[in-house]
Structure formats: C-alpha cells, structure tokens
C-alpha cells in the first residue's frame, strides 16, 4: 500500500493542509474582534501551524503513516475544532462565525482515506462532521453541506487510492514482463551465436562416421534444428487486431525433415482461418508420417497473394497411384483428405491433391482473403 503512485496524493494533502491553515488564519484575523475570548485564539492558531509542519514531514515518510499518527491527527484537529466553543463563544458560532479550524479539519479525513481506504475515510468523515456540527450548534443546510462534502471527498479519495494501487500493480507486472522478454531475446542471441553453431558443426563433422559417432552427430543435428525453431519463434503480435500471423503459426512445424518457406513478413489472416489452416497442415503432416517412410522430407510453402493465401504441403515420399486416391476417397476411406477438405470448404477455400507413384504427394490449400459468409 506504499506504492509509488500514492506519494503525489500525500503531497497533495500536505499542500491542502497548508492552504487551509492560511485560510483559517485569515478568518481568525478578520473575525477576532467578535470572539468571546480573542487572546487564546493566537496560541491555538500557532499550535495548528506547528501541527501542519509536523504532519507534512511525518506523512512524507511511508513508515509513519500508521494508526498512532492518524489517531493523533484526528484528535488534535478535533481539539482545535472544539476549542472554538470556548474561544469564539456560543452566541457568535450560532450567529454563523466560522470555527477556528474551518476547512483545515478535512485534512485528517483525507489522510485516513488515503492510508486505510474508503471505509476508514467514511468513519473519520462522520466523526469529524459530527464534531463540527456539535461545535457550530446549528443544523441548517449550509452546515450539513460541509459535512456531506467532506464525506464525499473521503469516498472519492479512497476510491482513487484503490485505482492507484491497481495501476501500480499492473505497471510492476508490465515491467517484470518486459525484463523477462529482454532476457529471452538476449538468451536467443547467445544461443544463436554459440550453441547452434557448435551443434551444426558437430553434426557436419560426424555425418560421415559410422556407429556411435554418427548417431551422436545425428542427435546434435536434431537438437540444432529444435533449438533453432525455438530461437526464431516469431512474434505474432505484429499483425494487429484479431488477425494471426500464419507464418509464425506454421514456423513451429520446422524440423530437420520439414522445411518451411514463405515471404519475409507476416502473413496476416483472421484468427479462425489461420487456426483452421494450421490444423489442416497438421493433418497433412500426420498423413505423411503415417504413410511414408521415416526420413521423408516435407516442404511447407506459404504464398501471400492479394486475394488469397495458398499453403502447399509437399513430400518426396512414395506417392499414391491416382486410381487408388480416387477410389479411397469415393469409399470415404481417405480420412485425412476428408478432414482437410472439410476445413477448407468451411473457409470458402479449396484443396488440390496431386500425387504420383515415386513423385511424392502435394496438397495445395487455397483460402480466399475475404471468406464467403
């Protein structure tokens, strides 16, 4: 509760207290002639000035903003208010002469509201308002308006403080997040400069070796690819709005056997379309994994055209004889093709599957930029 955004509020209260003291002093000077006992008014005013100075310093220290100081503030202010009965005198007060602590008595209420929130502010405002009304001894609308204003101020300030606390918390979280992002980028650079290069080197130098060494080299190569795709994982926030960057989504599939290519910039698509395309690509990749030999190379190619986005998944595997493809589809046995076609149809797009024995399979998915609704 001692967040950085509260400090200006405490300074504002100190300024208010000083301004209110000056106002009270002016009123005392101009009204002293009508007081029942004018002489003791000056020591009371001096005491108020001393308390103003003391509280200005005391509240500036977050460690002192506790119950003892708040209670003392409230009681001393109430005492100055109550002294008005003896000094100003009943008849003058009833005639409408202001109290000695006019306006100045709101300061402790504001302190309660800032230090302890809305509820404490309301309680302090009620106590101070009651004291003020009793001292003034008349209960017309002007008197109660002052008390109500003080109550509303306490509520408003209490609310403001809560908002300031929430804002402070969010700011701190945002700063932490930014630091974490920076750290991640630094790590990515370091990994890129050292680890990736060594792994690639190990892979290359051991590629021709047999047995254990060759295995180690292959493992190094796989780790290099996995690490590389982690490090270059692109930010997808640059497309704005509800769009997603299709390239960033598909980049996650890059591996030693899957090559991802496409334009340098983001390929923005509505989030739904981008996710459906990714799911269709995943289905196509699964299909290759199921039907082709391990080690089959896959090429994922994204084309960003003004009116449409084309994603091609090509493998250099065994391929499917055209007759069998049509036959399987007619019998409803081609589950994967079916799911891809379904997804593309929903987006108003189309699918072309080309395959020949020995020439691999090519699945071309085209999605219009403005989907038919």
């Amino acid at each position: 509760m001692t967040g950085g955004l509260q400090a200006p509020l405490w300074r504002a209260i100190a300024v208010y207290r000083i301004a209110a003291l000056a106002y009270a002093a002016v009123l005392v000077v101009s009204n002293a002639g009508g007081y029942e006992r004018p002489m003791p008014a000056w020591p009371v005013l001096a005491a108020m000035a001393a308390w103003t100075v003391l509280t200005t310093y005391a509240y500036a220290d977050p460690a002192r903003r506790r119950a003892p100081l708040l209670v003392a503030d409230q009681l001393i202010t109430m005492a100055a208010l109550t002294a008005s009965i003896w000094i100003v005198g009943r008849p003058a007060l009833e005639a409408g002469t202001p109290t000695l602590a006019v306006a100045w008595h709101v300061a402790p209420v504001l302190c309660w509201a800032v230090a302890r929130g809305r509820r404490a502010g309301i309680v302090a405002a009620l106590a101070m308002g009651a004291t003020d009304l009793i001292v003034r001894a008349h209960f017309d609308q002007a008197a109660s308006t002052g008390a109500v204003l003080m109550l509303l101020a306490a509520i408003a300030v209490g609310y403001l403080v809560r908002i300031a606390d929430v804002a402070q918390e969010r700011l701190e979280r945002a700063i932490e997040l930014e630091a974490a992002t920076r750290e991640r980028e630094r790590l990515a650079r370091d990994i890129h400069d050292s680890v990736l290069q060594v792994l690639a080197l190990v892979k290359r130098r051991g590629a021709g070796l047999d047995g254990e060494a060759g295995n180690l080299a292959r493992l190094a190569g796989e780790q290099e690819a996995a690490l590389r795709s982690l490090v270059v994982a692109r930010q997808s926030s640059d497309t704005g709005g509800d769009d997603l960057d299709l390239m960033a989504l598909l980049q996650t599939y890059a591996s030693p056997s899957v090559t991802v290519s496409g334009p340098a910039g983001a390929v923005a698509l509505p989030a739904h379309a981008a996710r459906e395309l990714r799911a269709a690509v995943a289905a196509a990749l699964d299909n290759v994994a199921q039907h082709c030999e391990p080690g089959t190379k896959i090429y994922l190619f994204v084309e960003d055209e003004p009116a449409q986005v084309v994603v091609t998944v090509r493998d250099d595997g065994c391929g499917i004889p055209p007759a069998r493809l049509a036959q399987a589809e007619a019998q409803g046995r081609l589950g994967v093709a079916h799911s891809i076609r379904g997804r593309m149809a929903d987006l108003g797009g189309r699918v072309k599957i080309v395959s020949a024995p020995g020439a691999g399979t090519e699945v071309e998915m085209t999605v219009p930029r403005a989907p038919i609704s």
Partner: protein
C-alpha cells in the same frame, strides 16, 4: 582444373572457420584468407582476390548486406555464398538483394555444402526452398506496394519464372523441375538466376534513386 579456385572464409566462429577451411582444402580449393570480421573482410578482399567468398550472414561488426555491398565494391562480380545458422528471413533477403549469389543453411551436410561452393564458383545461383519462398514473397510485396503509374518500375516475374520459383520453394530439385516442365536443366537454372538478377537490379536502382533524392533535397 588448372588453378585451384580461391576461396575466402568469413565467419566469426573460430571452430566453423577452421572446419570449413579444412573441408574446402580437402576438396581441392585454395583458402586464400579467413577472417571473423566483416570490415576486415572488405579491406583484405582486393589483396586476397578470392573467386568465391563463403560468408556468415551474422557478423559481430556489420550486417551481412553491408559486407556484401563492400565486397562487390572491391571485387565487382565476386561470387558470394552466404551461410547462416538460422533463417532470419528479412536478413537473408536483404543480403541476397545486396548481391549474394547463393544461400545455404549451416545445418546443410558436407556434400551439400561442397556442391553449393562448386556451383557458386561456376557462376550458378544457389537457392534453398526457403530462399525461393522469400524471393517470390518479395516480388509480390513489390507488386502490391508500388502501384502502377508513370513510375511503374516494380520488377515483375514472367509466368515461367514464377512457376519455376514455386517449384523450388516446394523442394523440387532443378532436375525434377526440368522434367516436370519439359525444360533443360540449364534453362531452369537460368530462370532462377534471372529472378535474383531482377531483384538485385531493382535494389541498385532504388539505392541510386534514394541517393539522388537525398542529394536533391538536403
């Protein structure tokens, strides 16, 4: 081969530099210079007179595109095979536009690497499927961002060139592309080379125009 092909290796990673140099020497190339800094590479290029520069895209001192511009200034027409550990798309594209003649990922195997060096030395363009995707994307971007008009000089690909690039991006080899389109291997190679040439020419025109505008208005 009467005289060995002269190669300069530029890479800030000492182990890589050594490994690559050893592999190249073993394969019959003459490694005439090695360095880990881009500025130094440009300084010593004229004295070392390499036929081929094997260049790491990410050097600590200057960007890949700057090194390539510098090298082309010192040794016009020098062939540059660019390597990178990770395919930061925009960097790769910028370097190719600046005048690199080939691109390969560092994760490529040794036979693939040696093949790329020999093709680079022979004057061929070395494309990966990823690079083909980038180049196609760049032509499409230029077509969209530079609207038709009196200044309509956005480079365009012929239908055949687009077709060839798409097939390269889909991972087909030049031989497979030649078979599919009923072309000669040489023609496929020429189409790929032309696409890069158009992009590099456009880049030079843009740089010149930028320089003129700066000169006129400042």
């Amino acid at each position: 081969m009467t005289a060995a092909i002269r190669v300069m290796v530029v890479d800030d990673h000492p182990m890589w530099r050594e490994g690559v140099s050893r592999d190249l020497t073993a394969a019959g190339y003459e490694v005439v210079a090695t360095t880990g800094e881009g500025r130094q590479a440009v300084r010593i290029a004229a004295a070392a007179r390499p036929d081929v520069v094997v260049l790491d895209l990410h050097l600590p001192d200057v960007s890949g595109a700057e090194v390539i511009t510098g090298l082309q200034g010192e040794l016009p027409g020098v062939r540059i095979l660019m390597l990178s550990a990770s395919g930061e798309q925009q960097d790769v594209l910028d370097a190719m536009k600046a005048g690199a003649t080939g691109y390969l990922l560092k994760s490529a195997g040794l036979p693939e690497f040696l093949d790329a060096v020999s093709r680079t030395a022979a004057g061929d363009t070395v494309f990966t499927p990823g690079l083909a995707g980038l180049v196609l994307g760049e032509f499409r971007r230029l077509a969209v961002t530079e609207p038709a008009g009196p200044r309509d000089d956005a480079p365009k690909l012929t239908e055949r060139e687009t077709e060839v690039l798409r097939l390269v991006a889909k991972g087909l080899s030049y031989r497979q592309i030649a078979e599919r389109l009923v072309l000669s291997h040489r023609t496929v190679q020429n189409h790929v080379q032309n696409t890069l040439g158009k992009l590099q020419l456009h880049n030079r025109v843009e740089l010149t125009r930028y320089a003129i505008e700066k000169g006129l208005y400042s």
